[in-house]
């Protein structure tokens, strides 16, 4: 079920944001026993997309939430978002090497 959810999140994000890089990580196991989650999952997404260019963090996160709005009801309890433009992504790679 969890792998299916990751796959579904991936599909929706690819369709909406045409990301250059996309990572969807299921972190539900970190929150086992978290009663209020109601069977929904905790996920982290790392998205690198040109769509984020010129947008502030708030607008970027909105794009991600909008892309996944259908899944927020059933599948996603919590979502950690890292949203970068290709330029920012390259820059952080250079500085860490």
């Amino acid at each position: 079920m969890s792998a299916e959810r990751v796959e579904r999140i991936r599909e929706y994000l690819e369709a909406a944001l045409a990301p250059q890089q996309l990572e969807v990580i299921d972190e539900s196991h970190l929150h086992a026993g978290h009663a209020s989650a109601g069977g929904k999952g905790h996920f982290r997404v790392r998205v690198v997309s040109g769509r984020f260019s010129g947008l502030g963090l708030l607008q970027r996160h909105r794009l991600v939430y909008d892309a996944l709005s259908e899944l927020m009801e059933q599948d996603i309890h919590a979502l950690a978002i890292e949203a970068r433009t290709p330029e920012e992504s390259n820059r952080s790679k250079e500085s860490s090497s």
């Binding site: 209020s36 963090l57 996160h61 979502l79």
Partner: protein, 122 residues
């Protein structure tokens, strides 16, 4: 006044406010905990609302700024974001000045209002 209007008023009245699960001292969710911790690290005062204690707020607040999750942090009447954004702003050193400016602005507005009252009563 309905709840939605009350919430908007509350956001206008408090220069910095976080709607979170639990309290800063006793957070009930990791995201709320990390966001509140970053805000406490700044040393700037802020208001908080525990949405777990009021399920109707939990239901209504997402409509205020069209934001689906908690915590939600508002500074100077505007949604700043959730946990990730606040942590990123804090890491970049931007959170503290944003909070300080909002608190200073609210204080100034209040003083102006009081000065106006004094003038009219004398």
């Amino acid at each position: 006044m309905d709840l939605l209007e009350t919430l908007k008023q509350q956001i206008r009245d408090n220069p910095v406010i976080i709607y979170m699960k639990g309290t800063p001292e006793l957070p009930m969710c990791g995201f709320s905990q990390r966001a509140a911790q970053a805000m406490m690290d700044t040393g700037v005062e802020f208001a908080y609302v525990n949405v777990l204690q009021n399920p109707r707020i939990m239901e209504e607040l997402p409509k205020v700024a069209d934001w689906p999750t908690f915590p939600q942090i508002y500074i100077d009447g505007e949604l700043v974001g959730g946990c990730d954004i606040v942590l990123e702003l804090h890491a970049q050193g931007e959170l503290k000045p944003m909070m300080e400016q909002a608190v200073a602005k609210a204080k100034e507005a209040k003083e102006k209002e009081q000065a106006g009252d004094d003038a009219s009563s004398s």
